[in-house]
Symmetry: C2
Subunit: 270 residues, 2 copies
């Protein structure tokens, strides 16, 4: 590594810090992965996407695995002071590491060409924590990809990236999708559309989940609109056995995705 960067007012710092704004991310096609978990995963799975890796001296000593992997992959490494790292990041405690990355783009066609069996489609999801946690849950449940409609939060926003806990770099995430053509493309490939909504008439345990399907999840406050629900093959409700009004979006998605994964695994081995 070269001489540490210590000037918090440099153009470089301003340019990176600006990536906390959606407009700048969309214009530059870049985003910032903050903290050891996110940085470790992007270096491991997509080193070609890492434009610059910033690390404090202490973090470089603590995370020799990440630094070695980055060096082996030919990533541009920059030692920075604690103050510069803090100035680069949106997170209050970025734990010494941040990587400027090129936005990871997957296309719906590429995803469909793989013959997906389990997908999740987010539409009008606005809360970054919920969106990130759904991506983490989809990864854990072994989903083939996460699809995100154009009316949703930007999955490269700092809080979404953090909430995915590295899962953003583990499975294809297709963004900016229009709902109608996406539904049509999924149908054509034999992927059933299952709306997950509190207004559903089919209970999750009664739903056949062995065939390929996509869980369609709506806004955290108002769910899916009627028109969207009507276009899906089934509207499925997670049963509420107690007095709770509902589950939050991330919990509902995780329960649905795990039910799908269990059903598909059982069908494979049974």
């Amino acid at each position: 590594m070269s001489t540490p960067l210590t000037n918090v007012r440099s153009e470089r710092v301003k340019t990176v810090r600006a990536l906390s704004r959606r407009s700048v991310r969309e214009k530059t096609g870049r985003f910032l992965a903050e903290g050891p978990q996110a940085v470790r995963e992007v270096v491991a799975h997509h080193p070609d996407r890492v434009v610059d890796l910033y690390v404090t001296r202490e973090a470089a000593r603590r995370h020799t695995d990440i630094v070695s992997a980055a060096q082996a992959a030919g990533v541009h490494l920059h030692e920075v002071s604690d103050e510069v790292l803090a100035a680069l990041c949106d997170t209050q405690a970025p734990q010494g590491l941040a990587a400027v990355c090129r936005v990871l783009t997957a296309s719906l066609d590429d995803v469909l060409a793989t013959g997906p069996r389990l997908l999740v489609l987010l539409t009008h999801v606005r809360d970054p924590g919920n969106a990130g946690t759904v991506i983490r849950g989809a990864d854990a449940a072994g989903a083939d990809a996460v699809l995100v409609s154009d009316a949703s939060v930007d999955v490269f926003a700092p809080k979404v990236v953090r909430s995915t806990a590295g899962s953003l770099f583990h499975l294809p995430v297709v963004t900016g999708l229009s709902l109608q053509p996406t539904f049509a493309a999924l149908r054509e490939r034999g992927v059933r559309l299952l709306a997950a909504d509190g207004a559903g008439t089919v209970l999750l345990p009664d739903c056949d989940l062995t065939a390929p399907h996509a869980w369609v999840m709506g806004n955290e406050a108002w769910g899916l609109d009627i028109a969207t629900r009507d276009e899906c093959d089934e509207v499925v409700r997670v049963p509420i056995y107690g007095k709770a009004e509902s589950l939050n979006l991330a919990m509902a998605a995780t329960v649905c995705l795990y039910a799908s994964a269990s059903a598909q695994k059982a069908a494979q081995t049974g």
Copy 2:
């Protein structure tokens, strides 16, 4: 209602605001429920626990159901200015309503006397959002109670109360428990102890969940310590089908609790 309270520097405001501190909640045995969802549920399920209900004029007009129910239950209602409501609350946008409540205490003996079939026990859980979301998930899955060890976050902290989305008032929550005597009491009543931990050797889908059991959940970062795991009847792992390192605590708890609820419902009806 009497004349609106408008003095943000009054002793009353200071006394209520102080409930954001754990030491004050423990000394007074009171806590604050903020926002329409929490206030509606405490008024509906435990009106005798509500000491004072503070409401802005606009919120009183918007939430006539809550105000009527409070009046019918003989709750002390106080109209306050927007500024006073903001000064009372921990939340940035409390949406016009807050209720000072007496801490709801349930005892382990009372819970065990009901013959519980599904419980969750939190130990060393520190993150308020995770703890609150587990309580919400336990309520949704129809658990009989939530047990909380003495080394965990205070469930009456503002952020926990908010994250439960009203579920704090729906099922018994037993706090301040020591782990050893609790384990012994559960065993004596025939409740199996299932540790939920990434180090588990039994996979969730392979676990028999029909008998009465308690899910024992540990700290969000390091899980359960070895001694605690060893004392449980089984150490169970939620399978990770993709590349995610783990699920977060609230997601794992919700998946486990729903697996239990499904198994127990199926056993009842089968």
